[in-house]
């Protein structure tokens, strides 16, 4: 018989076994191309050339176990999940072959087989759907968007506002500030010490005789009492400063008496 020529254990005299064995060998060649056991099972299921709904899970289990066995013979490293699937299928196979044990809990072998068939059918369906999706007219390949989009310009416009009240308040604020100025600005009646110093410095060198301080008040500061008071005070302060510097001598004969000054040579 033909299967005698095939290496490895020949358990099944069924001519299908030859095809299975060949399929298993074919799978081994590109095992790296498979995405896991389910992918391998789906490929194996296709060799049954039937609607996936009517697939023989027992046959599938045999095919898969043969595939794993073949891989072992060739000392091919299979990922762990392939071996887990092999163990599970071996279990399923034995359950399917044995008469059901009424004592046993858990899902029946048929339920498990049905679910595996469903999984394969669903995976197959998704692969077909993916292929149909990719076959659609795709944007940038078959169908094109506007090449020179104009887009939406966003412009921001700022509107500045001010009311007449703002304006009035602003001006009022300025004028209010001006109202404070007289307190510090009314300098008409103030003769500063700096001014007095400036006035006395060039004069003092020429004063050889004792001279009354009031004689040194600037012109026009004598009439108005307020102005005279300011000028006198500042001139007196200036003479103290100059006396400190050794520029003049300062004398007052009696309390509230007239103050006289004389320059130092």
């Amino acid at each position: 018989m033909s299967e005698d020529f095939i290496e490895g254990p020949a358990r099944d005299p069924d001519p299908d076994a030859v095809a299975e064995r060949l399929a298993a060998e074919a799978l081994i060649v590109d095992v790296d191309g498979f995405e896991g056991p389910l992918d391998v099972l789906l490929t194996l299921a296709r060799t049954q050339k039937v609607d996936l709904r009517t697939i023989s899970v027992l046959q599938l289990a045999r095919q898969y176990l043969m595939f794993v066995e073949k891989a072992r013979e060739l000392r091919l490293e299979l990922a762990a999940d392939y071996l887990v699937m092999a163990a599970w299928l071996a279990f399923l196979k034995s359950r399917l072959l044995l008469p059901p044990d009424p004592e046993e809990d858990g899902p029946s072998a048929e339920d498990l087989a049905a679910h595996l068939a469903f999984q394969l059918e669903r995976l197959e369906a998704m692969r077909k759907a993916a292929a149909r999706l990719m076959a659609r007219d795709q944007l940038g390949r078959d169908v094109f968007a506007r090449g020179e989009p104009q887009g939406l310009e966003r412009s921001r416009r700022v509107v500045w506002t001010a009311t007449l009240l703002d304006l009035m308040q602003g001006y009022a604020r300025l004028r209010t500030r001006d109202d404070f100025r007289p307190f510090v600005m009314d300098r008409d009646g103030v003769f500063t010490m700096e001014e007095a110093l400036e006035r006395l410095r060039p004069l003092i060198g020429t004063v050889a005789e004792w001279t009354d301080l009031t004689a040194f008040l600037p012109d026009g500061w004598n009439a108005d009492p307020a102005r005279r008071r300011s000028a006198t005070a500042s001139t007196f302060a200036a003479t103290l400063e100059l006396a400190k510097n050794g520029r003049l001598d300062l004398r007052q004969a009696e309390t509230f008496g007239p103050i006289t000054i004389r320059g130092r040579a």
């Binding site: 027992l58 899902p107 048929e110 087989a113 692969r127 999706l133 169908v143 094109f144 989009p149």
Partner: protein, 224 residues
């Protein structure tokens, strides 16, 4: 140019033909689909974007470009039969791996779908790079979390996906109806959680050893 609330109520909406022109201008100016909401925001007050769109779609039927619906948005796209003229515009896209293509299809047909469900369907774990690539392409996005233990995130397809594959809505996915009718879009947990079926014997060996020709009839081969 923006109208104040007052002027909006003072002026009537432009005639529909004029609205159609406006929608036309807006769609032409944008490379990305424009939602009906965005259209209303840009059109003068009182415009009826859906009515204008309907007219515009008709106007462009059979033209070199067409007005395409993309989910809740609209875009102008070149007619697919003229793709051969567009070699210059063709964008060389990175070839998607089989894993990415399958994952995309699973998200599209099963959405919202969790990563665990994708893995259950494909029978292998989904690499992080695959999900990332699809997120990068703006073809899938995160949906709402599933209200199950662990509250896993779900994935759904985007408007960009619909736009890329020329789909008006996820309902327009090819073969969706057939897949649903066949029960292939249901999330069926593997057996084992619930109690075993009592009438397990009735379906005994339905896949077993029969010649392929006879296997098409599910009910007839109960004997073993």
């Amino acid at each position: 140019m923006t109208e104040s609330a007052d002027s909006e109520s003072l002026f009537e909406a432009p005639p529909l033909a004029e609205q159609e022109r406006m929608v036309e201008a807006i769609l032409f100016a944008s490379a990305a689909p424009v939602t009906v909401g965005e259209l209303h925001a840009r059109l003068p007050h009182g415009c009826d974007a859906p009515a204008a769109l309907e007219q515009l779609v008709k106007r462009y039927e059979g033209r070199g470009v067409r007005v395409a619906r993309v989910g809740d948005a609209w875009a102008i796209r070149t007619a697919a039969d003229l793709a051969f003229l567009m070699t210059r515009e063709t964008v060389e896209t990175r070839k998607l791996s089989r894993a990415a293509i399958e994952t995309l299809a699973i998200v599209a047909y099963h959405q919202p779908v969790t990563r665990a469900e994708i893995e259950e369907i494909r029978g292998v774990s989904v690499s992080k790079g695959t999900i990332e690539q699809l997120l990068d392409l703006d073809w899938i996005k995160l949906g709402q979390r599933r209200q199950t233990p662990g509250r896993p995130v779900t994935f759904v397809v985007t408007r960009g996906f619909l736009d890329h594959f020329g789909l008006g809505s996820p309902r327009d996915l090819p073969g969706l109806k057939e897949l649903r009718a066949a029960g292939l879009l249901e999330s069926t947990p593997p057996p084992g959680d619930g109690a075993p079926l009592e009438d397990a014997e009735a379906t005994d060996d339905m896949f077993e050893r029969s010649p392929p020709e006879e296997e098409t009839d599910h009910a007839s081969d109960d004997t073993a």
